[in-house]
């Protein structure tokens, strides 16, 4: 079984995120980079399936050189190899360009399962897995809270507002996972040491056979007109409960016409 896990380096969840003044893209230098949290769950799920059924787990990422840190983390969790698409021409790529680049890198490598986290904590669009499935013409099994593989058949529980849908398809499939699915492992010391020797294939846009004019900020089909920090909220009223806190709160809600 050949498994790919697409991961993304994002600004640390706890850091303040900003847009750049010059080109309105995310300022990736302003904060420490970490592996997108939900992608850790995707790596974990891939490793669990590998432990149960064998095969190889390949990490795929697209991003600047420092995204190599995220690749190493995934390798130290236990993945076998990695492909890192890195090129200045990728800077500012939107979801359409990202899905084009990832689908091109993934196609032809014979992956049976292609994992993603269901959203990145920076862009929060949740569209790239569906777009990659669309481009590859393979089944989309997204927002999975449970994944079962039997032979070449894959069944997931797709999280919905009311509970879940059971969705089935045959390999190859694109899977995105939600955090409910598992508890990602921490890299062990042994894993960290082993990761240093694992193969990382670095690809430029040209190496990957991508057309540069379909990538980057200049190819984006949306443009940012302007942006601004949200004006700070005026300080509210804070009271200390003196035994009548609930009543005071009710009075406030009444003045605001909620009750």
């Amino acid at each position: 079984m050949k498994i790919a896990v697409c991961v993304k380096q994002v600004p640390d969840t706890w850091a303040e995120k900003k847009l750049r003044g010059d080109d309105s893209t995310l300022d990736r230098e302003a904060a420490d980079g970490v592996m997108n949290e939900l992608d850790e769950y995707a790596v974990e799920e891939a490793l669990k399936l590998q432990e149960a059924g064998g095969g190889e787990v390949t990490i795929v990422t697209m991003g600047p050189e420092r995204a190599g840190e995220t690749v190493r983390k995934a390798l130290s969790m236990g993945a076998d190899a990695a492909v890192h698409l890195v090129d200045d021409a990728l800077h500012g790529s939107d979801a359409l360009a990202t899905s084009y680049a990832l689908a091109t890198v993934l196609a032809g490598r014979g992956f049976d399962l292609i994992f993603f986290g269901s959203e990145s904590t920076d862009a929060r669009m949740s569209v790239v897995p569906a777009m990659v499935a669309e481009r590859l013409g393979v089944a989309q099994l997204t927002f999975a809270q449970k994944v079962d593989v039997v032979g070449t058949s894959v069944t997931i529980q797709r999280t919905t507002d009311y509970g879940f849908e059971t969705v089935e398809a045959s390999m190859p499939v694109v899977i995105s996972v939600v955090e409910k699915i598992n508890e990602p492992r921490y890299p062990s010391f042994k894993g960290i040491m082993a990761a240093k020797k694992k193969p990382v294939e670095t690809l430029s846009v040209a190496d990957a056979g991508l057309e540069a004019e379909q990538l980057g900020l200049s190819a984006a089909w949306t443009v940012v007109e302007d942006f601004a920090a949200r004006p700070p909220k005026a300080a509210g009223t804070i009271v200390t409960d003196d035994g009548e806190g609930g009543v005071k709160l009710a009075e406030y809600l009444a003045t605001q016409k909620f009750i």
Binding site: T13, W14, E16, K17, K18, L38, A95, L96, E119, D122, R124, M125, S126, V127, V128, A130, M131, E134, Q140, T142, F143, Q145, R158, T159, T160, D161, Y162, G163, F164, E165, T166, V167, E168, A169, V173, A220, W221, T222, V223, V224, E225, D226, F227, A228, A229, R230, K233, G236, T237, V239, D241, G245, G246, V247, L249, A250, L253, Q256, F258, I259
Partner: protein, 317 residues
């Protein structure tokens, strides 16, 4: 006037509130045509769409469109876009909605903007990003603009029309049928409004302390007709089901009123609720960062304050 497609969100045959909001918004951009995909269309549904100004309703009424996730919906929409050349497509920012928008964008070679909280008459979308800390205005510059719009961002305003029903039959491709829905499991029908579109959300966090603690949260929610939410600390601890998680890796909500109980207010949580119109915080820790966002806050034990509030609301009802 140019046609604007509005994809209808429906459950059990009834039109969801977010669709009324999208139709209202669509009227500022052109003439709304609702698109109903899946079984369950009825006269009542048509009336509900007409009430908010749908001039036409395209009805693709067949189980094949929902028995495979997302892909058939994108095919129906791509076919409508190529046939009718609308000026924009509006879809609710649900998981299905965003994925449909993404696939549609590829099919029709168009730009897509997700999670808009407003769209101006000239097509400039407003988004609130990075946990509500930054407001961005952006525009689609290629193809037919596709927008997904967050629930609760436009107050629905009625503008009654009698819609023309147009039956649509789009064959679903084999590729779109590769993934098949074989079952639907309702985890919990609690009778409360949907978390993502509720006007009022009452949430509990670490301070709730145990699964049983959520009884006071639920009681307050029910007194207000609200949905119940939970912070990640509470869902990770197993005190409340994951699908109710509000925050960066859970749902993003933007209700008229958000009542946070025993939630300290990590960025993780704020990212999911910061755009709520009115925020009320109950926490025994006066240093809890969520008080910075509060319009009204009570420093106190939620197990004292919340039941008292619930009683007070019942008295006033």
């Amino acid at each position: 006037m140019s046609e604007v497609l509005v994809v209808v969100e429906h459950a059990d045959g009834s039109v969801k509130k977010v669709t009324s909001e999208l139709l209202t918004l669509a009227r500022t951009l052109g003439e709304p045509s609702a698109v109903w995909i899946g079984p369950g269309y009825s006269d009542a549904a048509e009336a509900a769409l007409g009430e908010f100004g749908a001039a036409k309703v395209y009805v693709a009424d067949g189980a094949q469109y929902i028995d495979h996730p997302v892909a058939p919906r994108a095919e129906v929409l791509a076919s409508l876009v190529s046939e009718h050349s609308p000026s924009a497509v509006l879809i609710a920012s649900s998981a299905d909605g965003k994925e449909t928008a993404g696939r549609l964008a590829i099919k029709i070679n168009s730009g897509v903007i997700t999670d808009a909280i407003g769209i101006s008459a000239d097509g400039i979308a407003t988004q609130s990003v990075f946990g509500g800390s930054t407001v961005v205005h952006s525009r689609v510059i290629k193809g037919t603009p596709i927008f997904t719009v967050r629930p609760n961002s436009t107050p629905p305003v009625a503008a009654a029309t009698t819609p023309t029903k147009v039956e649509v039959s789009v064959p679903v491709s084999e590729v779109a049928m590769k993934a098949k829905v074989t079952g639907r499991t309702v985890a919990q029908k609690d009778g409360r409004p949907d978390l993502s579109e509720a006007a009022i959300v009452v949430s509990g966090g670490r301070g709730v302390g145990a699964p049983e603690g959520f009884a006071v949260i639920e009681a307050l929610a029910d007194s207000l007709g609200a949905a119940v939410g939970a912070s990640r600390a509470a869902t990770d601890a197993g005190w409340y089901p994951h699908q109710y998680q509000v925050g960066q890796t859970g749902k993003t909500v933007s209700p008229q009123l958000y009542v946070a109980n025993g939630i300290s207010g990590a960025i993780q949580h704020r990212a999911g609720m910061q755009t709520s119109k009115t925020i009320v915080v109950v926490n025994k820790d006066p240093e809890a960062p969520l008080f910075e966002l509060a319009d009204f806050g009570v420093v106190g034990d939620l197990f004292q304050v919340v039941p008292q509030l619930t009683e007070e609301i019942k008295k006033r009802a």
